[in-house]
C-alpha cells in the first residue's frame, strides 16, 4: 500500500511540465478590457484599432484573448484564448500599434519563483519539521513544509504573484510552536515583494515552546 502510494507520489512529483511551442510573432495574449468593434482596450490600458476586415469576436471584456496584428499594427483577428494557448505577452506589442499608449503597463501579475532560506536556533528538535505560515492560507500554521538542508537550515521555493507583498511567519506546525524574537516576544511577520529569482534569508531567534 505504502509502496504504491509512494510510486504514485513520485510519478506525480517528477512528471515534467509539457513543452510549449513558441507563439507566432504577431499573436499576442492579453485580457481585453473592452471592445466596441473598432477599438480594443487591453489590460494595462493600451488602445488598439481593429482593421475594417477584422475577424473579431465580441463580448470579450474581462476575458483572455488572442490578438493578431497585421503589418500596419491593426487587429486582423481577435478571439477568446484557449486554456494554455501560447501568445506573446501584451508588453511586446509595438508602441506604434497603439492608438493610446499606456504608461508603465503592468498587465500581468505573473507567478514568479522565490526562495526562502531559514536559519533556526540550535535548540530546534532535529526530527521536527519546520513550516511557513502566511496570510495566503489564513495563517494556517502548517501551510508549507520547508525542506531541511542541514541541522540548522531549511529552505522552500514558492510560486508567488510578482510584486504583491507576501507576509509570513515560521512555525514547527502549530501556532504554539511559532517563532519568537530574541526576547521571546511575538515578532512581526516577515515580508517579501516577490521578484523572479528572489532569495530571502531569515533567522528564527527562538521558538515559543522551547525556553530551555
Amino acid at each position: 500500500m505504502i509502496a504504491r502510494a509512494l510510486l504514485l507520489a513520485l510519478t506525480v512529483a517528477a512528471s515534467p511540465a509539457p513543452a510549449a511551442s513558441p507563439p507566432p510573432a504577431n499573436v499576442f495574449r492579453s485580457v481585453a478590457l473592452a471592445f466596441d468593434g473598432k477599438r480594443l482596450i487591453v489590460a494595462g490600458g493600451g488602445v488598439l484599432r481593429a482593421a475594417p476586415a477584422c475577424t473579431c469576436a465580441s463580448g470579450v471584456a474581462g476575458r483572455a484573448v488572442m490578438v493578431t496584428l497585421g503589418p500596419d499594427g491593426a487587429i486582423v483577428a481577435l478571439r477568446r484564448a484557449l486554456p494554455g494557448e501560447a501568445g506573446r505577452p501584451a508588453k511586446d506589442i509595438p508602441t506604434t500599434a497603439y492608438v493610446f499608449v499606456p504608461h508603465a503597463s503592468d498587465d500581468d501579475a505573473q507567478l514568479v519563483t522565490v526562495t526562502i532560506d531559514v536559519s533556526v536556533p540550535n535548540q530546534t528538535p532535529p526530527t521536527d519539521d519546520v513550516y511557513l505560515s502566511s496570510e495566503r492560507s489564513g495563517w494556517n500554521p502548517a501551510e508549507i513544509r520547508l525542506n531541511r538542508i542541514d541541522a540548522l537550515h531549511f529552505s522552500a521555493q514558492l510560486k508567488l504573484p510578482a510584486g504583491v507583498r507576501f507576509a509570513y511567519r515560521i512555525t514547527r506546525g502549530s501556532f504554539s510552536t511559532g517563532e519568537r524574537d530574541t526576547a521571546f516576544q511575538l515578532p512581526p511577520p516577515h515580508t517579501i515583494i516577490p521578484a523572479a529569482g528572489g532569495v530571502q534569508k531569515i533567522t528564527v531567534d527562538n521558538w515559543a515552546d522551547i525556553t530551555n
Partner: protein
C-alpha cells in the same frame, strides 16, 4: 469551577457580540453572474452584468471586473458606469482605487480622464497602465465561485453562495467568509486537536473573526465548535472557543497574549467543562540579554508556580555555543506531590530547583559535502524531598545536500533519564510490576525498570522537492529504548512518508502514512490527509 466556566462563557459571548457589532463595515458589495475568488492572488474576477455598491454611496456597473483585495482597487471592464448621487461617469473601462480615492475612466476614442470617488470634475490624464492591470487569473482555477462578494477592506471577503470547484470533498455552502487580514494572530487557536477541522468564517473584520469549526474528534465523532479571534497587530490576541456546544461536556477555552513592552509579554490559557477546569498564566521577559519566564498554573485542586531564567548563548572556541538555565518552583497537590512517599501529606507542597547546561557545536563541514552538528543538554532537578532527577540528551545530525531538489539528513539521539530516590525509597516509587503489553501479553522484564530509562534512536530522512509546492519526505527511524516491549514505547522500526502537492494553484494536498512493522500488533498508522488552501 463554576465561576471559571461562567467567566469563559462570558468572555466568549462578549467577544462574539463585539464581532457581530463590528461586522457592519462592508467596504463594497459586488454582484455578478459569476464571481471567482483566487486565494493565491487574493483577488476576485467577476463576469456578466457586474454591479458594485460601495459603502460611500458610489455605484458601479460593467461587463466584467477585477478586484485586487490586497491593494483595495477595482478595474471595471466593458461599459463601465459609475454613479454617485446625481453625478454619473461612464467609459469603456474604469479603475477605482479605494485607498487614494482616485478614479480613472478610460474611453477607447478619447483616452483617460481622472476624477474622484465623488465623481467631481474630471481632467484628461495619460493612461496609467498599472491602474488598469487586469491579470489573467482564470487559468489558475478559482478557489471559490459565487455570485456575490461582500468585501471588508484589508480583512475578509464573504462569498455567497460559495462553491469550491477545485477542492475535493468541500461542500457548497450558502456563504463563506475568507479572511485575508494581514494579522498572523488569526492563526492562534484555543481548540484542541482533531482528526479533521474545517473552519467556516461567520463574521469578521480586520481585528476579529468568529468562525464555526466543523470537526471530527476522536471519541466524540463529528461535531462543531465556535471560535472567536480578537487580534491587535502584534501586540495582543484573545481566542475564545466553545467545543461541542450541543453536548453536556462542552468545553470552553481561551488563549490570550499581550505584549506589555518591547521585552515583556503575558499569556493566559484556560479551559473548563462540566467536570474540570485549568488555567495557566505566564509572564515572559528579558533581563538584559537573558530571558526569564514566570509561570503559574492551576489544574483543578493542584497548582504549580515556576520561575526560569536562561542566560544568552555564549559563543566561544570556533563557534561552539553554550547557555545555562536556572529554575525554581513549587507544586501544591492535595494528598501529596509524592503519593508513594511514606508520609505523602507532609509534602502537599514541594519545592524544586533545576540547573541546566546546554552546549551546541558549530556546523562542521565534513568531506563529501556533508555537514555535522551536535548538541548536548544536561539538567539536574532537586526537591525538598530525598529525590533527584537527572537528564542528559545528546544529538548528532549529519546532512548532505545531493542536489537542489534532494537532501539527506541522519540524526542520532540519545536521552538518559534517572529518577533517583534516596533513603531506600527507590523501591516504593518503582516497585516490581509485571506490565501487560498492549497486545495482552505480560512482560516480566519491566521489573528491571527502577527509574532509569534510555532512549536511543537513529532517524534518516530524505527531502525531495522537485518543484515549488511539491515536496516528499521519506523517513526511516529505528529506536532502541528501555523500557520498550511488545508495543510499549516507541516502535523499534518505523517507516513513513509525507507528500505535499499542489495540483491546482489554489488547492494543496498533504498525504502521509507510516509503517511500524507490526509493533504491538499494529502495522500501518492511519492515513493523514489534509486539503490546504
Amino acid at each position: 469551577m463554576r465561576r471559571l466556566r461562567a467567566a469563559a462563557f462570558a468572555a466568549c459571548a462578549f467577544v462574539a457580540a463585539l464581532t457581530v457589532a463590528a461586522d457592519a463595515r462592508v467596504t463594497y458589495d459586488l454582484r455578478a453572474g459569476g464571481v471567482s475568488f483566487f486565494a493565491d492572488a487574493v483577488a476576485l474576477v467577476a463576469h456578466d452584468r457586474v454591479r458594485i455598491a460601495f459603502a460611500n454611496g458610489l455605484h458601479a456597473e460593467a461587463d466584467a471586473a477585477y478586484a485586487d483585495l490586497t491593494h483595495n482597487r477595482i478595474v471595471l471592464a466593458g461599459h463601465a458606469v459609475l454613479q454617485a448621487g446625481s453625478r454619473r461617469a461612464s467609459g469603456d473601462a474604469a479603475a477605482v482605487d479605494l485607498e487614494s480615492g482616485r478614479v480613472d475612466i478610460l474611453d477607447a476614442t478619447e483616452g483617460a480622464r481622472e476624477t474622484t470617488l465623488a465623481l467631481g470634475a474630471a481632467k484628461a490624464v495619460p493612461i496609467a497602465g498599472d491602474r488598469f492591470a487586469f491579470p489573467e487569473l482564470e487559468e489558475r482555477r478559482a478557489y471559490i465561485r459565487a455570485r456575490r462578494a461582500e468585501v471588508t477592506a484589508h480583512a475578509n471577503v464573504r462569498l455567497l453562495p460559495a462553491n469550491f470547484p477545485n477542492s475535493p470533498g468541500a461542500v457548497p455552502v450558502p456563504a463563506y467568509l475568507y479572511t485575508y487580514a494581514a494579522n498572523p494572530s488569526f492563526g492562534a487557536n484555543s481548540l484542541g486537536g482533531a482528526t479533521f477541522d474545517q473552519p467556516y468564517g461567520i463574521f469578521g473584520n480586520t481585528n476579529q473573526l468568529l468562525a464555526a469549526d466543523f470537526r471530527y474528534e476522536s471519541g466524540i465523532g463529528p461535531t462543531v465548535a465556535l471560535q472567536d479571534h480578537l487580534v491587535d497587530d502584534d501586540t495582543a490576541y484573545l481566542v475564545t472557543s466553545i467545543d461541542s456546544p450541543q453536548r453536556a461536556d462542552r468545553l470552553f477555552a481561551l488563549n490570550g497574549y499581550e505584549r506589555l513592552g518591547p521585552h515583556l509579554s503575558q499569556t493566559i490559557t484556560a479551559e473548563a467543562d462540566h467536570s474540570f477546569g485549568d488555567v495557566a498564566y505566564s509572564l515572559t521577559g528579558a533581563l538584559g540579554r537573558a530571558s526569564s519566564t514566570l509561570s503559574i498554573s492551576i489544574d483543578g485542586p493542584d497548582s504549580y508556580e515556576d520561575l526560569s531564567v536562561r542566560s544568552p548563548d555564549a559563543h566561544f572556541w570556533h563557534g561552539w555555543a553554550a547557555h545555562v538555565r536556572a529554575d525554581y518552583g513549587l507544586a501544591t497537590v492535595p494528598g501529596g506531590v509524592f503519593s508513594a512517599a511514606p508520609d505523602p501529606l507532609a509534602y502537599e507542597t514541594a519545592y524544586h530547583r533545576i540547573a541546566e547546561l546546554y552546549l551546541a557545536s558549530p556546523l562542521f563541514k565534513l568531506p563529501l559535502g556533508t555537514t555535522l552538528q551536535t548538541t548536548y543538554d544536561y539538567s539536574r532537578t532537586w526537591y525538598n524531598f530525598p529525590t533527584r532527577y537527572d537528564a542528559f540528551t545528546g544529538n548528532a545530525t549529519l546532512s548532505k545536500r545531493l542536489s537542489k531538489q534532494l537532501s539527506m539528513i541522519v540524526n542520532y539521539a540519545a536521552t538518559y533519564d534517572y529518577d533517583i530516590y534516596f533513603n531506600g525509597l527507590q523501591g516504593r516509587f518503582y516497585p516490581p510490576v509485571t506490565e501487560i503489553a498492549p497486545d495482552g501479553t505480560p512482560w516480566p522484564g519491566y521489573d528491571a525498570f527502577s527509574g532509569a530509562s534510555e532512549y536511543r534512536g537513529v532517524t534518516a530522512s530524505a527531502y525531495y522537492a522537485p518543484r515549488p509546492d511539491t515536496s516528499l519526505r521519506l523517513t526511516l527511524a529505528t529506536a532502541n529504548d528501555f523500557p520498550q516491549f511488545h508495543g510499549y514505547g516507541r516502535a523499534p522500526d518505523f517507516l513513513s512518508f509525507d507528500l505535499r502537492l499542489r495540483p491546482l494553484p489554489n488547492v494543496g494536498i498533504d498525504l502521509g502514512r507510516g509503517d511500524q512493522f507490526g509493533w504491538g500488533g499494529q502495522r500501518y498508522t492511519e492515513w493523514t490527509f489534509a486539503v490546504l488552501p
